[in-house]
Amino acid sequence: MFIQQLVNGITQGSMFALLAISFGIVYGTLRLLNFATGSMYMIGAYFGWLMVHHVASNLFLALLAGAAAGYVVGYILERFAFRALRGVARIASLICTIGFAMFFNELMSVVFGAERKAMPSFYADTAFVIQGVSVSWLQIILVMVAATVLILLQLLIYRTKLGLAIRAVSLDFKTASLMGIPTDRVISLTFSLAGAVAGISGVLAAAYYNALFPYMGNMAGLKSFSAAVFGGLTSIPGAILGGYLLGIIENFAVQFISSGYRDIIGFSILVIFLLLRPQGLLGRKTD
């Protein structure tokens, strides 16, 4: 049972980690909490589903479609929720992201219907069995895809010139522009990347649960926001760690206490933890 919950926890944690990092990179560069993160996840899932149903029944093409859709939504959000509101109080941008979340949720339920859509099973065969726990190929693929995206993102941010520019902009965008960095373009790109990562997470979730619906991003968004805060909002490794921990903690809570308490337990741990360590696991105190 322990291993079963650990496997489930890591699988779910992978999706949380991707969403948490989406929160984290937007917050890191813009000091903006993007509450439309869950919508980018949901829209990613829908475009993945469209790909599967209308073009080719292939999980990897679905992931690409979800990433592309998330990228575009991220771009739109940056234009309207952030750039258009520059110079206005930061809270206006935050509220605007909430508005966009509602708008996207309603839009998708009008266009595709509010009911659940079924995502076909991919790679449902058992890959191996450990101590009576069976692990499917899908779980393995899901964990690998998340890990690959997270590693690529790390490499991008810490090993490339663009990543250095992103970090400089996130530390001090005025000074970054004096260094010749086109800050608007960097910010827009960062937001789009966050969208792509959320979109991938949405497709993975739809494949894992075999379902998608217009409000699927609400709880996922809130939870991964918690995971990001848990890890320390401005720390990318922190967000990843927070995502996996939340997935694992939740699954153990379900196992050892009760499934009805799943959501409460995750959030309670977050609140208690933040009372003790307000900057999160890996965040910096000065933030």
Binding site: A168, L171, L178, M179, G180
Partner: protein, 237 residues
């Protein structure tokens, strides 16, 4: 034609008229200083040149081309580096990464390496601390890093905003010596200072700014002997 030619420049912050028709020029390869009291508008002038603050009238010509209100990163590409007031080091980046950010507009890796090595020769302290976080440096070291970072774009014009601020007298001397050396490499410098004495000894030409206007413009040596300047800025008399 001067490298930088500012004419009748006006800047407003809302209702505050911070620059009221400023005219100033910097010749190719020269070292010009701008002195003035707190709140005179010196930082505002530099910020307007580098595009960080919008101007509301007048013109800023760089190599004969209008750059007023152009985007900051495009102005940097033209060859103007601005070392801002308060240093503005990227405190969580290493010393070397601060330099790499400064080299953002450089495409050639080899060129970046050469510029970094040149900086390490100019500022040996930075070489010793290349892996350290910028924020962990002392005030003097941070100032050197800020200047070194500005040089990474290989500018023709370097704008320096109060490089001596908060430095011990011995360090002030070092920093001004470095500024002379940088100027001797062919980089034109517009140096904003409250430390008028050292600034006028280092520069060849000087401007005095009072409440948003240039009140005196003369050779630096003449300003050092000007009674009005001596009274107000040099603590003489």
């Amino acid at each position: 034609m001067n490298l930088l030619e500012i004419a009748d420049l006006h800047v407003h912050y809302g209702a505050i008229h911070a620059l009221k028709g400023v005219s100033l020029s910097v010749a190719e390869g020269s070292l010009v200083t701008l002195i003035g009291a707190n709140g005179a508008g010196k930082t505002t002038l530099l910020n307007t040149i580098s595009g960080a603050v919008p101007g509301s009238g007048g013109s800023v010509l760089f190599r004969g081309e209008e750059i007023l209100n152009e985007l900051p990163h495009l102005i940097t590409r033209r060859g103007i580096a601005h070392v801002p007031e308060g240093r503005k080091i990227f405190s969580e980046l290493s010393v070397e990464d601060n330099l790499n950010v400064g080299a953002y507009i450089q495409k050639d890796k080899q060129r970046i390496r050469t510029l970094i090595e040149r900086n390490y020769e100019l500022f040996p302290r930075l070489a010793e601390r290349r892996r350290q976080e910028g924020g962990s440096l002392s005030g003097g070291e941070q100032q050197m890093l800020a200047i070194a970072r500005g040089l990474m774009s290989d500018p023709t014009l370097l704008l320096l905003d109060e490089p001596s601020l908060g430095l011990a007298p011995i360090l002030v001397e070092t920093v001004f010596k470095l500024i002379s050396d940088i100027n001797a490499m062919g980089v034109a410098v517009l140096l904003v200072e409250q430390n008028a004495n050292v600034a006028l000894q280092t520069a060849t030409f000087g401007y005095v700014m009072e409440t948003g206007q240039i009140t005196i413009a003369d050779k630096a040596s003449a300003l050092l002997n000007n009674p009005a300047v001596q009274n107000a800025y040099l603590g003489v008399g």
